[in-house]
């Protein structure tokens, strides 16, 4: 049975030892963020803050849903120790069978237990955390799921975008200008100068949030893929103030509209690349019209920063498989893709059949075709296990020609302005560059001159290998 909501997920994490409940009062102002951050850096469990300063009993904060591969495995119903390669394989396999969501009646939707409309709306009812010292404000939307729709095609997008409390009825956000939310906004709402309905969902089931981090193609509904990964349809319910559908078992749903003619300042914020790097004051204004929430709502958060945390782990999986699908679709002879969480989706490993300069260029062309979130790609031969950093580093160090093995592409208007090495001017113009490192043998080299890897499995005959393995214990080794 998949998890219906964050609550039964947390219950399971209690049993596996992957959550700690903190009953001592914790301040939403920096303390919860600092604890969460330290816990990530220690590779520790998720943390449920049960008593939050300034807030009544029952209004709690929960940090780190999917901050380790163990918790990702558990969220997918796999054993906690499942190897990363197996998690990737399962995720990829399940995506092949999308399952349509079910729309449920409001009475069956726990997120409707409390409804605040109009003047009742007050974002300060919830313990939105001040995550890092020096951030632009309190980010209520960190580990969230933002729902928007293209009214012409009916395509509903789920994305994970940061949203900060501006005042009791406004949020300020920064969906990147190259994001799918921005695509919908620019395609339909901006030309008509119409506000864009939006729902910010907090504390849906863990798979729904994971899927919100995935870079699916335009026009692909994430809700179907959430169903695919859960192997059961996800239940959705209609919003109170618009026709958007949101996960029915969510903890908190903030409904409203992004305005096309009014703005408020957002940021700065310590972001997923692991830095607070000057992205601020160029976001969107979200006027809140309603808030619905469960009794004793759990506000999910992520003390975002240096890897490894929920963002770098979830994106490692969802982006990795999306990239593999995209490369295949483009005809690249891709074998595997791995997004090492430590590389925060800036560094990607791609293994291919029959590599070489041409294939390396094709790989880079794929990554730079539209919005560019990736700045470095290592292209490897298929004998390299991309999930093994040691093998990748060895291949990169030895097989990438420092002169002719490096391909760079420059672009403007579509770079990732969160990339810390870009200057303020580059960020402003979305100017950037991406590089591919060709760590494959040139296909034009005759087989007899290709260097032989001096490893046990590659430089000895099968007979010698078998003899050594058979006699291993008799040599006196364990």
């Amino acid at each position: 049975m998949p998890f219906q909501d964050h609550r039964d997920f947390i219950e399971t994490l209690k049993k596996t030892g992957d959550v700690i409940e903190v009953t001592q009062e914790v301040d939403w102002d920096l303390e919860a963020g600092a604890i969460g951050r330290r816990m990530y850096e220690m590779g520790g469990p998720s943390t449920w803050f049960k008593k939050v300063k300034d807030y009544p009993e029952g209004f709690t904060l929960y940090n780190g849903s999917l901050g380790t591969w163990r918790r990702v495995a558990i969220s997918m119903g796999l054993p906690p120790e499942t190897p990363v390669r197996e998690i990737y394989r399962t995720y990829e396999e399940r995506l092949e069978k999308p399952i349509d969501p079910i729309i449920v009646n409001k009475k069956k939707a726990p997120c409707k237990e409390n409804i605040l409309l109009g003047d009742q709306v007050d974002l300060y009812r919830f313990p939105a955390p001040m995550v890092h010292e020096g951030d632009g404000g309190r980010y209520i939307g960190t580990w969230d799921l933002v729902v928007t729709k293209d009214p012409e095609t009916g395509w509903t997008n789920w994305g994970m975008y940061r949203f900060m409390v501006h005042n009791k009825r406004w949020l300020a956000g920064w969906p990147q200008p190259t994001s799918q939310l921005a695509h919908q906004m620019k395609k339909y709402y901006l030309p008509r100068n119409e506000p864009m309905p939006v729902a910010l969902v907090i504390g849906a089931d863990p798979i729904a949030h994971m899927v919100a981090t995935a870079p699916f193609r335009l026009e692909e509904d994430e809700a179907k893929f959430a169903g695919a990964l859960r192997k059961e349809p996800i239940e959705l319910v209609k919003c109170e103030t618009c026709d958007l559908l949101v996960p029915a078992h969510s903890e908190i749903v903030i409904e409203g509209e992004i305005l096309t003619d009014q703005i408020v300042p957002d940021g700065p914020f310590g972001e997923y690349p692991g830095y607070r790097s000057g992205t601020m004051a160029e976001g969107v204004g979200f006027r809140v019209k309603a808030i619905t929430y469960r009794n004793n709502p759990i506000l999910t958060m992520i003390a975002l920063g240096v890897p490894i945390d929920d963002s770098s782990i979830a994106a490692a999986l969802t982006a990795g498989i999306a990239m593999k699908r995209g490369l295949k679709h483009r005809g690249v002879p891709v074998v595997d893709v791995y997004v090492p969480p430590e590389g925060v989706t800036h560094l990607i490993y791609v293994s291919v059949k029959n590599g070489g300069a041409g294939v390396t260029k094709e790989v880079l062309d794929f990554f730079t075709a539209r919005r560019v979130m990736v700045s470095k790609v290592i292209v490897l031969d298929e004998d390299i296990d991309v999930f093994d950093n040691g093998q990748v580093l060895h291949a990169f160090a030895t097989k990438c020609h420092p002169g002719r093995g490096i391909v760079v592409e420059h672009y403007e208007g579509r770079s990732n302005s969160l990339t810390p090495c870009y200057s303020p001017k580059e960020r402003e113009r979305l100017k950037g560059a991406s590089v591919a490192f060709d760590a494959t043998w040139p296909p034009e080299w005759p087989a007899e001159i290709i260097p032989i890897k001096a490893s046990f499995k590659t430089i000895y005959s099968k007979e010698i290998q078998e003899k050594v393995i058979q006699n291993w214990k008799s040599y006196g080794f364990k």
Partner: protein
Amino acid sequence: MKIEYQTFVRQFKDLKEGKQHLFVKDLTPGPRKYDTKHVLAEISSNIEKFPDGDILRIRSESGVLLPQPWVIKILQELPESVPGHPWEDVYKAIKKV
């Protein structure tokens, strides 16, 4: 008791003394800390200039805190948002107010 506010600038040199339109965060402790106000205010790096003024803390675009606070005297509260389009620079938009 003086109220503490905070504002952000891209670089410290961007902040000019005198009458300014600003977005400020109210740092008064409690559940509404960091509430944003859009104000017309007089500000100065010389805290003696407005003895009845409040404290203005200033941070840069990457959140670095200017060691010495300024003084702020709020003259008028303005609407909570400014006219502009999504992804437009708020600092440029605010100059048109």
